[in-house]
Subunit: 341 residues, 2 copies
DNA sequence: GTTGGCACTCTACGGTCGAAAGTGCTAACG
DNA sequence: CGTTAGCACTTTCGACCGTAGAGTGCCAAC
C-alpha cells in the first residue's frame, strides 16, 4: 500500500462539493458543472465559489477536466476518497431485502448458490458474478454402492461433511462381496487424501490389489479423483451483462469488446474475483486497482462467501462511475447472509 | 416452406459470378466491384460484362447494392443459393482433424461434451455453442443408500441407463431397515415416472407413507425430482464470442449489444439452438431464417448430437458473411463423430 | 454476348463556421 | 480571507460544403 495523502479529512466544504460532484456524475453520466451543482443541491453559494472549490479538488487529483470547457469528472482517486470517507452506508429497502432473503434461502437449501447472480444483477443493475468452488478438504471416506441395473455409485466424503458422487456401469458387475472388499481395500489405505493421493492410489490398485477387483478399484478411484478435481474448478455464473453494456461508457466503438472477451473467457473473470474471496466485508476495487488489465474502465465490489460445503466469492462489476452506495450495501447484505451461520 | 424460385440451376455464367462475389465478400468484408472480381480471379472478360451479370443477379434478388456507387453484396437469398447450389464441400485438413478427434475422444469418455465448444470455436474462428441435456426418459428405478457419516444417496435411473444421484444428510439418520422400507414403498408406486410424477409421489408420501419414514421419503423424492428437472436444463457452453465480435459487422456502435445480451442470457441461445437438435446433418440458418429476432444479422450452422446419455446440439454462429464451406465441413465432421456409434 | 467510353451518383474526408457550455481570471465586496 | 459578479477565452458539437474517389449504368460499336 502506498501512503494515502488523503487520510486526513478534507475540508468539510470541499468534502461537500466532492460528494455532490461524484453523486451527480454517477447519476447523470456527464461532466458536472458548477451551475448544475448549485441548482441540483439548492446551494446558496455562487457558481464561482463552487468553481474555486472544484479547482482545489482538481489540484488534489480528485477531480478532472475532460477539456477546458466541460464540467468536472471524478478521478479514480476521487471515487476512492468518496468510497472511503464520504459515502454513507445505505440500508437495503425492505422489499428488496425480502426478494434477496428468499433467493438466499433457496440457494442455501439447494446448494445452488450461483442462482444468486441473476438476483444480484437485477438488484444492482450491474453485472453480477458468483463463483463457488468446493473446499479443498481432505477426503474422509469413500463408499461404493451397487444400484439396481448394474450401476455403481462411488461417493467421496470430505472431512467437513461435503459429499460428491459419480455413477458408472462396470463391464462386469461386481457382486456385493466384491464391493465390500474393494471398499475396505480403499479404506485401509485412506489416510487423509486429496485428489492427487487418490490418483496415486488408483495406480497402486492396478498393481497391488487382488486381481479380480483391481480394475474395478482403479476405476472407482479415478472417478473419485476426477470428482474432486472437477469440483475444484469453480462453478461460475455471470448475469446482467446487458445492464452495463447499455451504460454510456460502453457506447463508444470498441469499448464493448473487452466486455465480450470477458464474458466469453470466464476463467479470467473468475481469477479476478478470486482475489476477493478472502474478504469478509465488501472490498471495492476501482479502475486500475483491478489487477486484470482487460477491465481497466470498471470497478468491482466483491467479497467472499460460503454456502454449504462450497466457498467462493460474489462480485458486482460495473463502470467506474458506479452507484457505490447501493452496490456496496447489496453486496454486503447478500454476503453477510451467505457467510453467516 | 415457400417455393424457391431458384431450384432450377442458374446460368453457369451467373453461377460463376455469384460464387466469386460471395467468396470475395466473405473474405474481404467489403462490397465487391466488377474490377475486383476480374482481377482476383484472372477473368478474361471485361468489367462491363461482369457488371451485366451482376445486374441480372441483382434483379433476381441475389445481390444487393448498398448505394449507387458501391460494389455488390450478396443478399441473404444469395447466400442461400450459394450454400444450396454453388458451394463445394470442403474436407477438413488432417491436422485439424487430429485435434478434433482427440477432443471428441476426451469428450466421449469423460461425458464432458461441452469442452468441444472451445475447440470448434478455434477451428471455425466463429462463435461455437454446445448444449446438451439428458434424455427425457421415464424413471426406472430409485435407490436409496446410506454412506458412512450419516449421508444418504438417492439415485434415479432412467430406462435408457442414465443414472443421476444426489446426496444429503437427513436430520435423523435412518437405519438400514428404514431405507429398505422406503425403497420398496417407492418402488411399489413407481410405474414409469417423469419428474412431475415424482413430485406427486412426494406429496402422496407425506400423507400416506408410514409416519416414521414419511418425511424421509418425501425428501428423497423431492430430490430425485429436482435431479431430473435440473438435468433437463441443459448444460451449455459458449466460446469464441470475441472471434465474431472482432468482425467488421460488429464494429458499428450498438451492433455488439445484441451479442452481449445473448451471452448474458444464454437461455435464448439454447432455445435457438434447440431447433437444430433434430438434424443429423448440418443445417444452415441464414439471417432472418433464424427464429430469434435478437440475432438477425447472424447465421447459424447447427446439428444434433448424442454423447453417452446426453443429447443436444452443436452450433456455430457468426455474421451472415460467414465462410460457410469451412464451417459446415467442421460442424459436419464433429457432428458425425458425436452421432456415430 | 461482349466491349470501351463516359456521364452520373453516392460516400468519405477535411475544413470552416456559429452556437453552446463552462471555465479562469480579475476586480470588488463584506 | 472567503465570496461574488462580470467577462473573455477555450473547446466541443453539429451543420454545411466542396472535392476526390469508387463504381455503376447506359449507349453505341464490335
Amino acid at each position: 500500500m502506498k501512503p494515502n495523502p488523503f487520510d486526513s479529512q478534507l475540508d468539510p466544504r470541499l468534502s461537500r462539493i466532492l460528494t455532490f460532484v461524484v453523486e451527480s456524475h454517477v447519476s447523470r453520466a456527464e461532466p458536472v458543472g458548477s451551475q448544475y451543482v448549485r441548482a441540483a443541491y439548492h446551494l446558496s453559494i455562487s457558481p464561482a465559489t463552487i468553481r474555486n472549490a472544484m479547482r482545489e479538488l482538481e489540484e488534489l487529483g480528485l477531480l478532472l477536466h475532460p477539456h477546458t470547457s466541460a464540467g468536472r469528472v471524478p478521478t479514480e482517486a476521487g471515487y476512492r476518497y468518496y468510497v472511503d470517507h464520504l459515502m454513507r452506508p445505505e440500508t437495503v429497502p425492505i422489499g428488496v431485502r425480502r426478494i434477496l432473503d428468499d433467493a438466499i434461502g433457496r440457494a442455501r437449501t439447494q446448494s445452488r448458490a450461483s442462482d444468486l447472480a441473476p438476483i444480484l444483477a437485477r438488484a444492482t443493475r450491474q453485472l453480477a458474478v458468483m463463483a463457488v468452488r468446493s473446499r479443498e478438504e481432505a477426503v474422509d471416506q469413500v463408499n461404493l454402492v451397487a444400484l439396481d441395473g448394474g450401476h455403481v455409485v462411488v461417493a467421496v466424503g470430505a472431512r467437513d461433511g461435503m459429499v460428491a458422487t459419480d455413477t458408472w456401469r462396470p463391464e462386469r458387475s461386481p457382486c456385493a462381496a466384491d464391493l465390500r472388499r474393494a471398499e475396505s481395500w480403499i479404506r485401509a489405505r485412506l489416510p487423509a487424501a486429496g485428489p492427487k493421493t487418490l490418483d496415486a492410489l488408483a495406480l497402486e490398485a492396478r498393481a497391488g490389489a487382488p486381481s479380480e477387483i483391481a480394475g474395478f478399484i482403479e476405476e472407482a478411484l479415478t472417478r473419485a479423483s476426477r470428482l474432486l478435481s472437477t469440483r475444484e474448478e469453480p462453478a461460475v455464473r455471470v448475469d446482467g451483462a446487458d445492464n452495463i453494456a447499455s451504460q454510456p461508457e460502453f457506447q463508444a466503438p470498441g469499448t464493448l469488446r473487452p466486455l465480450v472477451s470477458l464474458l466469453a473467457n470466464q476463467e479470467s473473470l473468475v481469477r479476478t474475483l478470486d482475489a476477493f474471496s478472502g474478504e469478509s466485508v465488501p472490498r471495492v476495487a476501482i479502475g486500475r486497482e483491478i489487477e486484470s488489465p482487460a477491465i481497466r474502465a470498471c470497478s468491482i465490489v466483491g467479497m467472499g462467501v460460503a454456502v454449504g460445503g462450497l466457498r467462493g466469492a460474489i462480485g458486482v462489476m460495473g463502470p467506474v462511475r458506479m452507484p457505490y452506495r447501493r452496490v456496496i450495501s447489496l453486496v454486503s447484505y447478500v454476503g453477510a447472509r451467505l457467510a453467516g451461520a
